[in-house]
Amino acid sequence: MQHVHGSYDTALVVFSYIVAVVASYTVLDLAGRVSESSGFSRAMWLVFGAAGMGMGIWSMHFVGMMAFKLDVPVAYDLTLVLVSVFVAIIASYVALSVVGKNQPTKGNLLGGGLLLAVGISAMHYIGMAAMLIDITYDPLMFALSILIAVVASIAALWLAFYFRKESGKGEVWKKLGSGLIMGGAIVGMHYTGMFAASFHIGTRSEIASGMLLDQKWLAYFISGGTLFTLGLSLLGIFVSKRFSRKDSEIELKSREIYLKNQELQRLNDHLEELVRERTAQLEKAHDEAIQANRIKSQFLANMSHELRTPLNAIIGYSEMLVEEAEELGEPAFAADLEKISKSGKHLLALINDILDISKIEAGKMDVYLETCDLGSVLQEVMSTVKPLIESNGNRLETKWEDAVMTTDVTKLRQIMLNLLSNAAKFTRDGAIRIEGRLMEKKGTSGYSIRVADSGIGMTDEQIGKLFQPFTQADSSTTRKYGGTGLGLTITQRFCELLGGDISVESRTGEGSSFTCWLPLGQVGEVQGTGPQAEKPPTSQLGSEFAAGEKVSILLIDDEPVNRQLMRNYLADEGWTLAFAENGAEGLLMTRQLKPKLICLDILMPSMDGWSVLSELKSDPELRDIPVVILSMTDDKPLGYSLGASEFLTKPLEREQLVAVIDKYLPDTEERTVLVVEDDVTTSEMMVKLLGKDGYSVATAGNGRLALEKLAFEKPGLILLDLMMPEMDGYQFLAELRKREEWSSIPVVVVTAKSMAAEESLRLNGYVKGVLQKGSFEPKQLLAEVRRYMNEKREVS
C-alpha cells in the first residue's frame, strides 16, 4: 500500500473559512426571519434557508477538500457527492426549524444541535467517501472532529436563538462575531476530520471509474458560486426584512385597531348595559312619579274637602251671628264678626286658587266644552261684577260683537271675572272698558276680549312678574288691595288650557289693559264629559260562550287586574267564568247568561256595585242568584241589607274565595236529591219545591227502583217514604247500608206514619232526620235538605 501525503492550498483554506463565516452569518439571520413568519411563508423560508445554509456548509467543506492537494490525482464518486450535498441541506433544515421556533426549549436546542452535528459530520465523511482513494482514520482525531461538530452546532443554534431574543443595537456586529466563531467551528471540524484521515493508494483508487476534477479552478468556481448564492440570500433577507418591517408595522397597527375595536365593543356592551339600567331606573322613576302624582291629586281632593268643611262652619256661623248681631242692634259685634266672615272667605278663595293651580300644574284640570253665546256669557259676567266696579266710583263701558264659541264656559267666566275684578280693584273714579271682537290668529278664528282700566298701572318690572304664582305687582299691593296673588296666574293658565293666550299693556299711573284671545272652536279634543258610554256588550257574548254552556260565575269588576286575578284563582276549579266591566254590562250579562253566582265589585265608575246589587235584587228573575260582594270597603251591614249573600274584603285570598264560591256552587252530585215516594202527588210537590231551590231531583216509586237509580247516579241526599209497595223504606235502608259507597248518603225520612219510639230507635243512626207528612212546611223541608247537604260537604 502506497501512502499518499497531502498539502493544503492556503488561499483555498482561507476561502473556505470565509464561506463558512458567510454561511454561519446567513443562518443566524435566517433563524430570525423564520421565527418571524408563519404558515406558507415560514415553510418557504425554511426550505430556502436550508438550501442556502446547506449549500454554504457543503461548499465550505468542498472547498476545504479542494484545498487539500494529494500527490496523486483523486477522482470523485458523483453520487456520493450529491448525497453529501443533500445531507447538508437536510441537516440545515432541521437546525433552522429548531431555531426558528418561537420558544425553543433547551431540549430542542440540544436535539437540534446534535442532529445538525450528525448532518455536518455525515456530509463531511460522505464527501470523504466520495474520494476514490483509500482512507484510514485516526480514531482520536475522528472523535474530536465529531465533538467539535456537536459543540459548534449547539453553540450555533444557541447563538442564533440568543441573538433573536436579544435583538437590538449592534445586532449586525454580534451576528458577525458569532458568524466568525461558528465559521471557525465548522472549519475546525472539517480540518480536524481531514487531519484524522490518511490517504493511500489502494483498490478504491481507480481514477477511471470516477471523475477527475481540475481542483483549483473548480474550487474557486464553487466557492464563488456559493458566496454569490449566500450573498443573494442575505440580500433577500435584507429586502424581506424591510418589507416585513412594513408588514409588522401594518400588523402592529391592525393589532392596535383590533384592540381598540375590542375596547370599543366592550364599551359598547357596557354602554348598552348602562342604558338598560338607566332605562329601568327611568321606568321606575316614571312609575313612581305617576304614583306620586296620583297620591298628590288624591291628597289635593282630600285637602280641599277637609279644609272646606271647617271653613264652611266658620263662614256660616259668622254670617249667622252677623245677622243676629244686627237684629240685636250690636253694630260693633257685627263689624267684628264680619271680619271673621271675610277672612274665612279669603281663606276659601286661597284654597280654591291653590287647588286650581295645583290641578293645572298636575295636568288634572278637566276641560268641559259646551257651545255658548258669548254675548250672554259676557252680559252675565257684567251683571256679577257691576256692583264691584261701581263701588269704587268707576264707570263701566262695554262694546262687543256677538259670537258663538265652543269652550269651557266656567273657565271663560272665571277669566273674565278675574280680569274685571282686578280692574275694579286697582281703579278709582275712573273707567273700565270691555271690548270684544272676532279676530283671527295664526289662521284660527277666535275672539279677542280686552279689559282696559284707567287705574294705577304697572311698571315694566311689575309686568314681568305678573303671571308668576304668588307675586303681585308689589307685595304692598296685597296689603292694600287684597287678593291671593294667584288670580292672574290662573287666568293665564286657563287661557292656555282653552287654546288661547293673554297679553298685557300698562303704564304707571295710566292704567292697564289685558287682552285675552280664545279660539272659537276647540279642535281635536272633545273631552270626555262624564262616564264613558256604556257599550252594549251583546255582540261579544255569543262568541265567548258556546250556546248551552252554563256560566257558573259572573264577575262584575271594572279593574282588568281583578278579572285576571279571578281567572288565575279559579282556573283549576272547573267553573265557567264570565266577566263584565261595568254595572250596566253586568246586569245585561246576568239577564242573558243567568250565572249561578255573581261576584260584584263595589267601587265602579258610573254605576257602582250597590246600584247593581239593588237592581239585581229587585228583579224577580235575578233575585235568587247569590251575589258575593268583593270590595275594598267594609260595608258588610249595607251589603247584607241589600241582599248580598257573602261579603269578602279585598285583597282576596284564594282559599277564602274558593270556599265561599264552593258554598254556592256545589258539585252536581251534591245538588241532586233522590225522592223515594210512591205517592205521585207528594213526589211532584217535592220535585217542584226542590227544583225551585236549584236542586236537580230524581224520583223513584219504591225502594227497588230507588236502588236501580242509585246504581246509575249517586245523589247528594235521599228523601225517603217508609210505606211503599214492593220494597219499603226499612228494606231500602238495609240495602243501602250494605253498600259502602252509599252509606254516606244522608237520608231524611218523610212519612205520614206516626212513629213509635221503637221504630224511631230502629231508624236512629240510619237516617238524619224524620219529617212528618202533612205537618211540615215546605220551608222546613228545604231547610233540612240544605242542612244535611252542607253537613255532608263539611265532612267530606
Binding site: 268643611t309 271653613l311 264652611n312 263662614i315 256660616g316 256661623y317 254670617e319 278637566d366 264629559t529
Partner: protein, 123 residues
C-alpha cells in the same frame, strides 16, 4: 212653611245650616248619613232635600238614586251639596238624579235662591 231635609254628616255644618235655614223660615229635618236620610225622606216626605254627597254608610249619590227610584219620594227635589268642587261632581250628581247642585262652603243667598227655585218648580 216648607220642610227641608238636610242630610249632612258634619255636626257643625248640620247645626249651622239647619239653624240658618230655620231663621229663614223653613222647617228643617236632619239626617246624619245616607241611609237615615233615605228613611227619613220616605217617612216624613219633605218638600226638598239638601244632600251632602260624601256621606257615611250610603253616599249622597246612592241615597239620591234610591230616593228617585221610590215612587213616594221621586218628586221631592234634591239639591246636592259637595265640598269637592271637582268639575266631575256636578255631572255625577245630576246623573244620580239630583235636581240642582251647589258647592260648600255654602253661600247662603245663592243656596236660598236655588231652594226657592226648586220649590217653585214642584208647586
Amino acid at each position: 212653611m216648607h220642610t227641608i231635609l238636610l242630610v249632612e254628616d258634619n255636626e257643625l255644618n248640620r247645626d249651622m245650616l239647619s239653624r240658618r235655614l230655620v231663621r229663614k223660615g223653613y222647617r228643617v229635618l236632619t239626617a246624619e248619613d245616607g241611609r237615615e236620610g233615605v228613611e227619613l225622606a220616605s217617612s216624613a216626605l219633605p218638600d226638598l232635600v239638601l244632600m251632602d254627597m260624601s256621606l257615611p254608610v250610603l253616599d249622597g249619590w246612592e241615597a239620591t238614586r234610591m230616593l228617585k227610584s221610590d215612587p213616594r219620594t221621586r218628586s221631592v227635589p234634591v239639591i246636592a251639596l259637595t265640598a269637592h268642587a271637582m268639575s266631575g261632581d256636578e255631572k255625577k250628581a245630576y246623573e244620580a238624579g239630583c235636581d240642582d247642585f251647589d258647592t260648600k262652603p255654602v253661600d247662603l243667598p245663592r243656596l236660598l235662591g236655588k231652594i226657592e227655585a226648586a220649590l217653585l218648580k214642584t208647586e
